[in-house]
């Protein structure tokens, strides 16, 4: 890393707070971004000379705000404000300004910044791209690479999304408890989507996109630092950590999917698992279960099994049953059926997924699971049909290759039978 790596790290970590405060001040994302840019440029000139300020975010907010105001005043030919060199030399001035920037607003500033990216008219991929651009500060090029699209296509997508949120009305006064929890839920959902986009890519050649997963974990931790007592935010963070801990074991050397039961558990990231388990435990103390906590608890059961055969499938079945109540969805029922097949019998599981057929008629995993269950109860021909359907619905080459493996095995079995 270069000598100025610390500067880059400081600007990155101060970004959500500084940009969030500037947004509250200017009430326009464009102006807030411009002001932040200007403040960063001045930081690049000033910090290497004078050393970093004690509170980089406060410095950036103050300087960014003044730079923008200065410009306005210059246009109206009034006296300019004092330059930031004078400010950062003076410890007292810095303390005073840190106090002036109301610290109680900080939490809501960052939440608002995240929330504007979650506009419900925006498709999920645009919400994610916007959050990566605005909150994480990734360049358009980096985001385009993560989504495997061209840079200009991504530029367009982000510009369109920005135009949309600029037209939308966002409340800038301090939100009430209900509004705050609504925002929190929308932001948590967006972070979850971002993670999923990395965890099981919806297209392209790469099946796992680690940078997206890492960015999602970073945002989840940011959210948890802001709301340390929210069990669902603990659950979300735990869930992402526990899932991502398996990343290195999920694909083999050729990029083929390795099912959890076949994974080399020595490749699982123990540090992430330990942190995830702690967060699940903390969340459960609150006795306010929610979908993220339950999903994290399911991931925790897997993480705690030393070998695949040690997995407590009955516990997973129970947790999915709870999830079916909290967040009913055919996908949840499908997952529960897998647990039932492992814990009790595949025939019961087959009966469970039968009623889901209509709603999951274009869902890759439905046919993958169905095929595997049919195979287990010895209905090979029906299994083949299900696998064929799964291949047609696969999103990535890895998904298709995985199903093809089942089919090959089927072909071999039938060849030896005849």
């Amino acid at each position: 890393m270069s000598d100025l790596a610390w500067l880059d790290a400081a600007l990155t970590s101060a970004r959500p707070q500084a940009l969030g405060a500037l947004l509250r001040y200017f009430r326009s994302l464009d102006r807030a971004e411009e002001a932040f840019q200007e403040a960063c440029l001045r930081a690049l000139r000033n910090w290497p000379l004078n050393g970093p300020p004690r509170d980089p975010a406060a410095w950036l907010i103050f300087v960014g705000r003044n730079a923008a105001l200065d410009q306005v005043r210059r246009q109206s030919s009034e006296e300019p404000l004092p330059s930031e060199e004078l400010i950062s030399d003076d410890g007292d001035a810095e303390t005073a300004l840190a106090e002036r920037i109301d610290s109680s607003h900080y939490r809501d500033d960052v939440l608002r910044l995240l929330f504007i990216c979650c506009h419900r008219d925006l498709p999920a991929t645009q919400q994610i791209a916007l959050a990566l651009r605005i909150v994480s500060g990734l360049s358009v090029k980096e985001i385009a690479r993560a989504f495997l699209v061209g840079e200009s296509a991504m530029e367009q997508r982000i510009t369109r999304a920005k135009r949309r949120i600029a037209a939308a009305k966002v409340a800038f006064e301090t939100p009430g408890a209900v509004e705050r929890s609504e925002r929190l839920a929308a932001v948590a959902a967006m972070i979850y989507l971002l993670f999923n986009e990395g965890y099981a890519a919806s297209g392209g050649a790469a099946h796992i996109r680690v940078p997206l997963c890492e960015e999602a974990i970073r945002l989840a931790r940011l959210l948890l630092r802001l709301f340390p007592g929210e069990p669902e935010v603990m659950g979300l963070t735990a869930l992402l950590l526990l899932q991502h801990a398996r990343a290195r074991a999920r694909l083999d050397g050729e990029g083929c999917i390795v099912l959890m039961e076949d994974q080399d558990r020595a490749l699982w990231n123990r540090e992430m698992i330990a942190e995830g388990l702690v967060l699940v435990e903390k969340a459960l103390r609150h006795r306010r279960p929610g979908p993220y906590q339950v999903q994290a608890a399911i991931a925790a059961v897997h993480a705690e099994a030393p070998r695949a055969e040690d997995t407590d499938w009955s516990e997973i079945d129970r947790l999915y049953a709870l999830l079916e109540v909290l967040q009913p969805s055919p996908v949840v029922s499908l997952n529960r059926a897998v647990a039932v097949a492992k814990a009790r019998d595949p025939a019961a599981a087959l009966a469970m997924i039968e009623p889901l057929a209509d709603r999951l008629s274009s869902y890759f995993h439905f046919f993958g699971v169905k095929g595997a269950l049919l195979l287990e109860v010895g209905r090979a021909e029906e299994a083949r049909i299900a696998f064929d359907r799964a291949i047609a619905l696969a999103h990535t080459p890895a998904e298709a290759a995985h199903i093809r493996l089942h089919l090959d095995r089927l072909m071999k079995d039938s060849a030896t039978q005849h």
Partner: protein, 133 residues
């Protein structure tokens, strides 16, 4: 930790404070590289080094605050920018030596872009029940 030859050797705790957001901003590769560098320093100091701990992020912390009925609070004890994220215990003959050890532990952090603060705190060894004995 080996017993020091000198009678006046003191144990120091070197407490590592960082801006947590900056630490979280490191990618897995960057973090692995930093840990590998720190391991080299730790080995160099091993003959004087006691327990070393990396603390989980403050988001994993729980705090118990005194009161009529002590309250359990989620999160770290103070909402500060720089959080205590780890510590070393090291035996040194003088404060100068302890500062030198801290300097060595600082270098890889600086190289990774972390504006860390290392606080050097002499340890007063506490033997329960033996005080004033």
């Amino acid at each position: 930790m080996s017993q020091s030859d000198k009678d006046d050797a003191v144990q120091y705790a070197i407490l590592c404070y960082h801006d947590e957001a900056a630490v979280n901003a490191l990618s897995t590769e960057q973090d692995d590289a930093l840990m590998a560098e720190l391991e080299i320093v730790r080995r160099r100091l091993e003959h004087r080094m006691g327990p070393v701990a990396r603390l989980m992020p403050t988001t994993a912390a729980t705090t118990l605050r005194a009161g009529d009925e002590p309250v359990v609070i989620d999160g770290p004890f103070a909402e500060t920018k720089e959080a205590l994220l780890g510590f070393y215990v090291i035996e040194c003959g003088s404060l100068e030596e302890a500062i030198e050890a801290a300097r060595q532990l600082m270098a890889p952090r600086m190289a990774a872009g972390l504006m860390s603060t290392l606080e050097i705190r002499p340890i007063s060894v506490f033997f329960p029940g033996k005080r004033g004995g």
